[in-house]
Amino acid sequence: MMNETHPDLTDEQLAVLVQGGDKEKFGLLMARYESKLFRYGRKFLSNPDNIEDVVQEVFIKTYQNIKSFDASQRFSPWIYRIAHNTFVNALRKNSRGPLYIFDFDTLISHPVYEDPAVFEREQAEIKKMIDKGLEELSSNYREILILYYLEEQSYKEIADILHIPIGTVGIRLKRAKDALKKVYDKLGLSHEQ
């Protein structure tokens, strides 16, 4: 049963089938998101030992709450939201200080320029930089870079995952890129490497 991939069915259609009681279809959803969530979790949590347990917890919460999923919306930001909450809890368990300090960028609105051409141009370079310099960044910068450049979520979707205004996504992303470049310079690595 788990080997049937059903490429013709979208995530949202699979979620509706699971909502209707088709438990086995949840296996397909897990198969589609498992590697993505592992990648997101590993990068965000900085290679934790218990990543399997955390991802398993994400899937369990997803199944428990799947009836709250609105099938007119995209499934991906919804499951990433659950993953975000679970990962933040996992980070909280392992950290002594406050995880997030107040973000002044959420106070007022910021202009949003989401340019696919800029994304295309930057993605390869940022992906390489993420591989080496990500651990040096704060968790909120780490996470937004992962979601945008690795998980390829749009500004709107990231706003729904992190529960922040869309304008804040743009400004935080810009600050995260600048911080990553600084880390890269500090490590003596070239941006073009």
Partner: protein
């Protein structure tokens, strides 16, 4: 060969098949949203009530006039301001903001706009409560000892403790440079006569027996050396009687 990923999937599916992990029913989420909306409305009403109470407090106690009594009056106004209600209201506004942020409209709005929006709503509802003369009615009830929880707060509005040198009462008799006022105690159980010494160069004008006045000054036993005096407008009796 089975990978680690397959193991997790199989493990989760096994828990689902054995009903160890179950889907929460749809009504659980609907109920949660309804509950959140009820709590949101409830807190909005309480917050608006507190806001209108603060406005009513300042208006009815006459403390706003203290601002016209110079530096000392400003200090007295600051000391007598109902800060605890303001802080409580601000906390409620922050709680409201947290609840609103659970919804898409809330978290997608910048925090400053959201807080302004909530504050604006509180002001609108607070003004409506004030216009409905709810506090006048509650004050009237408090006067008749019929208001159990908030009674003391309402009583303090008209009869604040004189510690800060601000006393309100009714004019008993007036002479050239001084007059006496009768200040009622809580629930009218006791009264106190205060002799008010006017500031140098000031004479009594337009005060007659029975007028309600607010006096700010330095206390010396039962004597007040006033630095500011203001006649207080009476609460419209129709307003209180219509709310009974």
């Amino acid at each position: 060969m089975e990978t680690q990923n397959d193991k997790i999937q199989e493990h989760v599916l096994e828990k689902i098949r054995s009903s160890e992990v179950r889907m929460r029913p749809k009504f659980y989420f609907s109920f949660k949203i309804v509950l959140l909306c009820i709590v949101l409305l409830g807190i909005l009403v309480i917050s608006s009530f507190l806001f209108s109470f603060i406005i009513f407090t300042i208006r009815i106690s006459g403390h706003l006039f203290l601002l016209g009594f110079g530096e000392k009056g400003f200090q007295a106004f600051f000391l007598l301001f109902p800060w605890k209600f303001l802080f409580l209201d601000l906390i409620l506004i922050l709680v409201l903001e947290w609840i609103v942020k659970q919804f898409r409209l809330g978290y997608r709005s910048p925090l400053a706009y959201l807080l302004c929006g909530i504050f604006f709503l509180t002001v609108i509802f607070g003004t409506l409560i004030d216009l409905a003369h709810v506090h006048e009615a509650l004050l009237h009830k408090a006067d008749q000892r019929g208001l159990p929880v908030m009674g003391d707060y309402y009583e303090h509005l008209r009869r604040p403790p004189p510690d800060q040198g601000v006393v309100s009462g009714f004019v008993e008799e007036a002479s050239g440079t001084s007059f006496s006022i009768e200040s009622a105690g809580m629930y009218g159980t006791s009264t106190m006569i205060w002799k008010v010494i006017l500031p140098p160069g000031v004479t009594i004008l337009g005060l007659t027996k029975g007028d309600e006045v607010l006096v700010a000054g330095d206390l010396d036993g039962n004597m007040i050396r006033a630095y500011g005096i203001k006649k207080i407008e009476k609460i419209p009796s129709e307003a209180t009687s219509s709310m009974k």
